[in-house]
Amino acid sequence: MDFDFTEDQGLLIQTLERWAADHMEIDANDRAATYLPGETLAAELAEQGYFDVSAELGLLGAVLLVDKVCRTPWAIEVAASALVAPMLNLRDLPRPLAMLSVNGRPVARFLSTQGAALVDAGDHVRLLRNNAGIQPLKNPYAYPFGLFDGDLLAASERLDDVPVAAYRRLRQLAVTAEAVSAVQAALDLTVEYVKTRVQFGRAIGSFQAVQHRLAECSVMAHSAQLLLYKAAVDNLGGTQMAAIVTHDAIKRVLYETNQFHGAIGLTLEYPLHLWTYRLRVLQFELASGMTGGEGVG
């Protein structure tokens, strides 16, 4: 039992936190954008080799990468490319990499003609790449979305070497990592906000009603993070539990962060909307991954 990071992991965290700190600012002109395109930053990370982090630092390394990168307001596709694909020995896929299912709606985050998509086809996994049938989709949900119009099975190739169960677990871990990151980011933003927002002559963060609810949110965020790390270290064992607690954390954090921001959180001029919309998407993706009340015991 050891909760310390290795030296290499610690170094990765440090470097990424510095990197993320340099990319937290949102230009005034971009404030009302429904999402901030992150492909330039993704290319920068890819060039520096970060998308191969799992080769040296394993699943936990990839989880840490996702966590730190997704704290920034930019919509950077990192979870599928750096966590899911390499662990399935899928190399050199076009970026960004989306994740689709033949049983769901044919829409996905990061689905674009330049990139590729892993497709859950029920009993096997397929790959859709650079497809002209993909159209960008406009919605407020804080990521670039694409819609595939056509016959998904016909347009994609079967990946014989990818076990569907392993793919699903990895996908669940990847989305959980993104969600744990977004939960923490929304919470951090809110904690800073309640320290400075003054009403009734005092910072609203000094009210116990506010403090307790945010404290409970941080317990959920902390719990989700611990289960996420354990699932990564234990080679996906317990991923379902991490997903469940993260899903609970999202719902609590979504409500509380919006409540404590009040009307400013409803605007598109203040960045909470990015986290709110992201969390709503991730909430749905995590719920979809919990196939009909699958148990954990």
Partner: protein, 381 residues
């Protein structure tokens, strides 16, 4: 990061488990009225069991060898606690003696006090209770009113304690009394023999089990200066030290997971473990596992001698959240069996969930601490 146990830890757990299995009677769950740590049977059993544990080196392995321990690390202590809790705590209320009184004596006791108490605690022959809470001083402990006034060299104590666990069979009480001005700085800690004249104890019937709660009335109780632990008016240092040492309390998730396992088996046997029930059970179980990890993180920090952090408060709240989900699950799906008194383990766990957010300090105090230390939110003006 590593979430596996070492060979040594696995062997230690196995040793504790075998020791327990060899000694508990077959009808243990029923004899103890559903693993009630204060049941007549458990208390009587513990009087025999604790000395046996001590002889086997399994009562205080985490204590330093000079006081009868084996210098084992906090992991061994935690594993020991997990296994005892899993078995229904056959040590009964040894917790206060081993985890609280012992460490406090080691740090603050006089040589005479150490000699008088530590060998007996290490031998498993002493039971302590904790005289802290009062009718008007619960979460706001520092406002307590039980007074100790000097009379020659002696101290005369009068007042009332409440919610005291094990008071009706404890040998000693760790008593907090006011010897000075208001607030934290006027408090002194006494080690009081429960048979001292002037002490009366009343059991408060409760849903937590037998003898979990008591009132302790103190009327002109005469105590010698030798009963003072630490310095006069400086009890708060002792309290803070020990709370840091032992703040996450007991591994409650073990009890709750045990009950969930039983409940799932019963529901499966009945063909009543459908998708929605399974999903609800999974939420409760996942939160128990999160609480387990949060506790392990605190134990890890202790082993590494790390400075106190909010990790302890986060773990306490995770335990509370987990037990709330477990209670809701059992209430939704097992209530008929609870009414029918079918399974003592489930009944015992369900009973204990009522106290998770209350025992050893209301959860809201932990939330205050998380807000201030972890989130660094401002205090109210």
């Amino acid at each position: 990061m590593d979430f596996t146990w070492t060979d040594d830890q696995i062997a230690f757990r196995q040793r504790v488990r075998s020791f327990i299995d060899d000694r508990l009677p077959a009808e243990w769950e029923h004899l103890t009225e559903g693993l009630d740590v204060g049941s007549d049977y458990t208390v009587a059993f513990s009087r025999k069991f604790c000395p046996e544990l001590a002889r086997a080196g399994l009562l205080v392995p985490h204590w330093p060898s000079e006081y009868g321990g084996l210098n084992a690390d906090a992991w061994h202590h935690w594993i020991l606690n997990e296994e005892m809790i899993r078995a229904g705590e056959p040590r009964s209320y040894q917790y206060m003696s081993v985890n609280w009184a012992g460490p406090a004596l080691m740090r603050y006791g006089t040589p005479a006090q150490k000699a008088a108490f530590l060998p007996r605690i290490a031998a498993g022959t002493l039971v302590f209770c904790q005289g802290f809470s009062e009718p008007n001083a619960g979460s706001d402990l520092a406002s307590l009113r039980t007074s100790a006034r000097q009379d020659g060299a002696d101290w005369i104590v009068s007042g009332q304690k409440i919610w005291t666990s094990a008071a009706s069979f404890a040998d000693y009480c760790i008593l907090l009394a006011r010897t000075g001005g208001p607030g934290r700085k006027g408090l002194t800690m006494f080690l009081v023999p429960m048979e001292t004249p002037g002490i009366e104890v009343r059991v408060i019937p409760s849903k937590m089990g037998a003898r979990a709660l008591h009132e302790v009335f103190l009327q002109d109780v005469r105590l010698s200066p030798a009963t003072i632990l630490g310095e006069v008016n400086d009890a708060w240092s002792v309290v803070s030290h020990i709370l840091h040492y032992e703040r996450i309390g007991i591994p409650r998730y073990i009890i709750s997971l045990h009950a969930l396992d039983r409940a799932v088996k019963l529901l499966k046997d009945d063909g009543a473990f459908g998708a929605l029930v399974r999903a609800q059970e999974a939420r409760a179980r996942a939160m128990c596992e999160a609480a387990r990890l949060a506790c392990y993180k605190v134990v890890h920090a202790r082993v590494k001698d790390a400075a106190p952090s909010a990790a302890t408060n986060l773990a306490r709240i995770a335990l509370v959240m987990a037990d709330r989900l477990v209670a809701e699950f059992l209430g939704d799906h097992i209530m008929d069996r609870l009414i029918g008194r079918e399974d003592p383990v489930i009944a015992g766990a369900y009973r204990r969930t009522s106290a998770t957010g209350i025992a050893s300090g209301a959860a809201e105090i932990q939330l205050d601490l998380i807000a201030r230390t972890h989130l660094q939110l401002p205090r109210a003006a």
